[in-house]
Symmetry: C2
Subunit: 124 residues, 2 copies
DNA sequence: ACCATGTATGCCTTGACTGGCATATAACTG
DNA sequence: CAGTTATATGCCAGTCAAGGCATACATGGT
């Protein structure tokens, strides 16, 4: 039931930044604090929240504690919004169809400007 | 960047419930309040938050206000966690591969290695 | 116009969260 | 063992969000 804590953990902007940093690579606390412009104690507290949400794991390296991202809870998030993704894909579909019709009516208008907003999912 | 309001909006359990309800179908405020076990005023406030986060839209039907889900911001969420999804897919892949190997080798009792990165003294 | 229904807003209290500072704790170094 | 580095924790104050209640606002019906 890390559900609640998961959302709460990610609700904080600083913590999202931290998670972003850890996405690039594992980092020790000091580095994170520095990158976030936060004090070390605050950073430690945020990391504690993330840890309790299961979002990060710690590895001890001498006196340093290197935090790394744990992707599992993110999967949970993804699972949560799966139903909504369907809905939004439908919307895009409808939009696409409408555009398609328009394009058909307007004949060739050479428009491929749309960025790929499709679900990047490769699994189902 | 995902709107801060989006995360804040979804950080609240009641609001997630509301969003879930609206996923099924659009509903008037009273119905939502009833389903959530919240007072009508509280519900209205939550809906306001969701509205300002762009998550819901209102349609006026007589004195009723029928709220419906707007899937667009959810797409934003999805976009945010896209990079993480990659990571977690890799993890699953690696896990699958590891299990596969283990099954293949079968003889070695699990090479425990260091998959337990928990802090040894995590106390509260 | 009056009243009923449905919803939004304002006020207030309470509780949670955040950040900083000082300090305790743990681990390495000489 | 003392000293230094790296991190965690406790305490405090400021902020903010959530829920309840009363009430204002809007729409429809008679």
């Amino acid at each position: 039931m890390s559900d609640a804590s998961l959302w709460t953990a990610l609700a904080d902007p600083h913590r999202r930044v931290i998670v972003g940093l850890l996405l690039e690579r594992p980092r020790p606390v000091g580095e994170i604090a520095d990158a976030c412009g936060l004090s070390q104690p605050s950073t430690s507290k945020h990391l504690k929240v993330l840890r309790e949400a299961g979002l990060v794991r710690v590895r001890q390296d001498a006196q340093r504690r290197v935090y790394a991202l744990d992707p599992a809870p993110i999967a949970e998030l993804d699972a949560w919004l799966a139903p909504y993704r369907k809905l939004w894909n439908d919307s895009l579909d409808a939009l696409g169809r409408r555009l398609d019709e328009t394009a058909a009516t307007a004949a060739t208008r050479g428009e491929s400007s749309d960025e790929d907003n499709r679900a990047p999912d490769s699994k189902d």
